[in-house]
Symmetry: C2
Subunit: 329 residues, 2 copies
């Protein structure tokens, strides 16, 4: 295993300190327990948005803390849920009279630990559960996973909270956006978790993994490597079948790199995905291409599609000032 | 070789079309010959900034076209210089009465082709040559290479041009920033050029390449893999010896991912580099961490340091609205 590390036990703390130092105009780090909070002051009664999850997906979630998006993020160890005390202390730090909205990707550990935190804090709180990954069926025993669509919910609800929406309105908005968001991923090669020191699964030189998650787990199918256009067709059909959009529907199209895929290839994927939608009379109204929800050094990408209404477009366009998503500020 | 491509001959055009489509609010693509230009109107007599070079380094340069930075970028094939007609047609498209400043990384092909374009256009033009890579000695036969420091010159001169600096002032500013900018890179593994189908050099599992360039060429030394802190020490000493900063000097510190290195590791590198500088009484005043000047899917990073004065800080902070560098707009 070749990585830039000093020792595995300090990797997360070193990395968080570097992140906070590089973005000291936007965020502040608490080391024990770990959380990142926004430093720009918030209006009284603004709902506080808190997300978190295992590390290794950067810039998600720490890179999205700041004005117009998250108030705090709680990073667990790599691919490991944060502990309830992280969310409790973060809530204490950022709650400002409007209550707390937890944005939680649907993984058993995350769900349990955010629930425990919600029970133990002294503030009103609500939770939005993200389950945008269509690689798993809706009736899967633990439900579907939360993947790259998460940042879209964080951005849109973050703008709503900044504009004064109350706690229940923020929760309803988050659930609405989640319900019209679908994602699916594909890996060309797997990631190496530092503590393991080798890839969590192996793919032959001629094989790819379709419907892959973001934790180095196997996907839905191992298939032969085909052209980018054919891969995109497979992913887009899965999104289409899930969302069943009508003609003239406006959509946000997000092509997300899983960590080690060059931007050049992500833009090629974006072209094929946008062409797929436009040839079916959909309107690709907003776009996001880049490495936003990664899986360490995995080679691959995911495609996310959100069906937009006018409110969602206005909130997507609203100013945001975070380390890794920034416009209008 | 596993990549998201349709066929190798169309990779660049597909990718550029995807890029331009995803960022249609900021840039426009010309396909024959290839150039990307800014779509926001410019003030009359603003100096037009044009850069370019081989592809495979995205987001450099196309991702830095827009208000406050480049007016146009001319992408060559992968790791191959753009041809003079690209720069000529781009100059024709963006010149607005203030002349043209070419920002050129110091590679023989780039230098020659930009020179030919400069001779053939009907506008006043000047060139700034970027040679920030300290891995090669200053007296190297072809001079030093231009690497990740390039975007710092593009940002600072872009802001100067936007504020009305004339052509000679822009050239002088660019040369000043270049003279106080130093970079050095390290690779953990090499990149795969699609047309070759295999890495351009191989490293053993226990070896890294110090002083690597951005075209898959061998670096200065092949050495044993050591801790991140030791790697950073080596790179920082090289930058320090080149720039010889005085105590209390303000610096911009840029940690750049070469393509396949997780952000988590880049932030860890940043922490070590900033600590190196601060322990020597330098003031890390501005920071940039991420994948900005890549080398396809190379695993590795570079560190760039620029000695800042007040003018450069003000221009660095000035509004910029490009696909991959955006603030204040």
């Amino acid at each position: 295993m070749k990585k830039f590390i000093n020792n595995i036990d300090d990797l997360l703390a070193d990395s968080l300190q570097g992140f906070a130092k590089a973005h000291a105009d936007i965020v502040q780090l608490n080391l024990a327990p770990h959380y990142i909070k926004r430093i720009q002051p918030t209006a009284a009664s603004k709902v506080a948005l808190i997300s978190g999850g295992g590390s290794g997906h950067e810039p998600l979630h720490t890179g999205f803390v700041g004005k117009g998006m998250l108030d705090a993020a709680c990073p667990g160890q790599i691919f490991t849920s944060p502990t309830p005390d992280q969310m409790m202390v973060a809530a204490e730090a950022v709650e400002n009279g409007g209550g707390v909205l937890f944005i939680v990707k649907n993984y058993a550990g995350d769900v349990m630990n955010f629930e425990m935190a919600a029970e133990m804090i002294d503030y009103p709180s609500e939770t939005v559960l993200i389950d945008d990954d269509v690689a798993l069926p809706k009736n899967h025993s633990t439900g579907r996973r939360g993947v790259a669509g998460t940042l879209i919910i964080e951005k849109i609800v973050g703008a709503g909270a900044e504009q004064g929406m109350d706690l229940l309105a923020c929760k309803a908005l988050g659930e609405k956006v989640n319900s019209v968001t679908a994602s699916m991923g594909v890996a060309l090669s797997c990631c190496t978790v530092p503590a393991l020191g080798k890839p969590t699964f192996e793919l032959a030189d001629t094989q790819i993994e379709i419907g892959v998650g973001i934790h180095g787990e196997r996907g839905r199918d191992t298939v032969d490597l085909v052209s980018a256009s054919e891969i995109v067709e497979q992913l887009m059909h899965a999104l289409w079948d899930d969302l069943k959009p009508s003609p003239k529907q406006k959509v946000l199209l997000h092509v997300n790199g899983l960590g080690a895929t060059p931007l050049m290839e992500l833009h090629l994927i974006y072209l094929a995905a946008a062409t797929f939608l436009e040839s079916r009379q959909l309107l690709v109204t907003r776009s996001l291409v880049g490495n936003y929800t990664t899986s360490l050094d995995m080679t691959g990408c995911s495609i996310t599609m959100t069906l937009l209404d006018d409110e969602m477009i206005e909130l997507w366009d609203a100013p945001v000032n975070t380390a890794h998503l920034r416009w209008g500020c």
